[in-house]
């Protein structure tokens, strides 16, 4: 009986997922395509829960659906004057035989590899190593243990990738123009939501040691609060001063690196935590990473250098930002 229920749930989830993916790839109207994509991300979060990956479900809902969706909608807004945006008279895309065949071939190869992997899988693999060392990792959430302890090196490099992407974005020009001041309903909602988001973010950071959560989810929620503030018409989303903001952006990578180097100085390996200290060190790194990820995601959403980024006296920046607000009052979606 329960098998039938699960089977039905699987079927519904997959059909809806495929329909939304199809819609986001084929919808003639780009705005509708983006909305389909956001729905696709939210449904994917349910699939992660179904496949017992709650950590990923949290990250998917906050980043995959929420922040990416907001980013795509913001990009649509500044594309609204250009010709390639609007409803296309013909199909959204034409089937091109060579790339289609190549993608199909790649899919078949992946499928064969996957079937083979399922056959030879002794059901344990690296999971056993993770679970048998979990007690020495300083945390009891296995995903956090992998991210911040067993494979900490990968996570350090990943934070560096995030920083590099942001530096690229900052080098490409000014931030998108600010939004007009929101009406009383949205402004009131944002006023209520911002402290709540900060609180939940701190909770996720803390709980990540032994339950689903952690630096990525916490940072994404914090960035979500920043995006909301921006959408409600605060040009700089209450960013701190330029120096502090720059410090926040590099906080994750630099503290992570510092911990690794100090551990080398005291005679252990790079990022090889002493078991007694592991829990504390992981929390320390995760706190810095949360701030860094939040600032990075938020700045990435702006799509360029905001006024608050500039190190020279903030007066010129502020005036520019105020100008931009005035320019765009008629443009708020």
């Amino acid at each position: 009986m329960t098998d039938v229920v699960w089977g039905l749930l699987d079927l519904l989830l997959i059909l809806a997922l495929l329909a939304l993916a199809w819609g986001s790839l084929n919808s003639r109207n780009l705005q509708r395509a983006v909305i389909y994509f956001i729905g696709f991300g939210l449904l994917l979060a349910l699939v992660w829960v179904r496949l017992r990956a709650p950590d990923i479900a949290l990250a998917e809902a906050a980043i995959g659906a929420g922040l990416t969706g907001a980013l795509l909608l913001a990009a649509l807004r500044d594309a609204s004057h250009s010709p390639d945006h609007t409803d296309r008279p013909d199909r959204a895309w034409r089937l091109n035989p060579v790339p289609t065949l190549l993608s199909l071939g790649l899919a078949v190869a992946l499928g064969l590899a996957y079937l083979q992997a399922l056959e030879i899988a002794d059901p344990q693999r690296l999971a056993v190593a993770v679970f048998s060392h979990l007690e020495q990792s300083g945390v009891s959430n296995p995903v956090t243990a992998v991210l911040l302890n067993f494979r900490a090196y990968d996570t350090l490099l990943e934070l560096a990738v995030l920083l590099t992407a942001l530096l690229g974005i900052m080098a490409l020009g000014q931030a998108r123009p600010a939004y007009a001041q929101a009406g009383p309903v949205l402004a009131g909602l944002v006023q209520w939501l911002t402290p709540l988001l900060i609180l939940v973010s701190a909770y996720l950071l803390w709980i990540g040691a032994h339950a689903p959560g952690g630096a990525f989810q916490a940072g994404a929620l914090l960035a979500g609060a920043g995006v909301l503030l921006r959408l409600a018409g605060f040009p700089d989303s209450h960013f701190p001063a330029a120096l502090i903001l720059r410090g926040m952006v590099i906080a994750g990578v630099s503290l992570f690196l510092a911990v690794g180097l100090v551990l080398m100085l005291v005679g252990r390996g790079f990022l090889d935590y002493p078991p007694a200290w592991a829990g504390g060190l992981i929390l320390l790194i995760e706190t810095a990473a949360t701030l860094g990820i939040a600032a990075t995601l938020m700045l990435a959403f702006l799509g360029g250098r905001p006024a608050a980024w500039s190190l020279d006296t903030s007066t010129t920046g502020r005036i520019q930002a105020a100008d931009m607000v005035r320019h765009n009052t008629g443009d708020n979606p």
Binding site: Y114, L118, G303
Partner: protein, 95 residues
């Protein structure tokens, strides 16, 4: 039954990957391409999580979970960088 779930979601992941990839090649608008690449990435994430799934009783493999978690964040930052490049391209075209 566990294998069925694993197989089902894994194959859906592969299908999404190839669907996204082929329409990334097929569409001309840059925003559509970025959207399509994101769908393809989501398909690969689904494949990885399906590999990690061990059925309702056994804990899933946390290693692919950690991979996908970092993957989601990297995918967002790559999307943001790509959109910033598109914006810059458009500004250059307008001049």
């Amino acid at each position: 039954m566990i294998l069925d779930t694993q197989l089902l979601y894994g194959l859906v992941g592969i299908f999404l990957f190839s669907l996204g990839l082929s329409s990334a090649f097929a569409s001309s608008a840059l925003l559509r391409r970025i959207l399509a690449i994101n769908v393809a990435g989501a398909g690969l994430f689904l494949l990885l999580i399906a590999v990690a799934y061990r059925g309702p009783e056994i804990n899933p493999d946390p290693l692919p979970h950690a991979l996908v978690l970092t993957g989601i964040v990297v995918a967002f930052s790559a999307t943001a960088l790509a959109l910033a490049l598109v914006k810059r391209l458009r500004e250059t075209d307008d001049d």
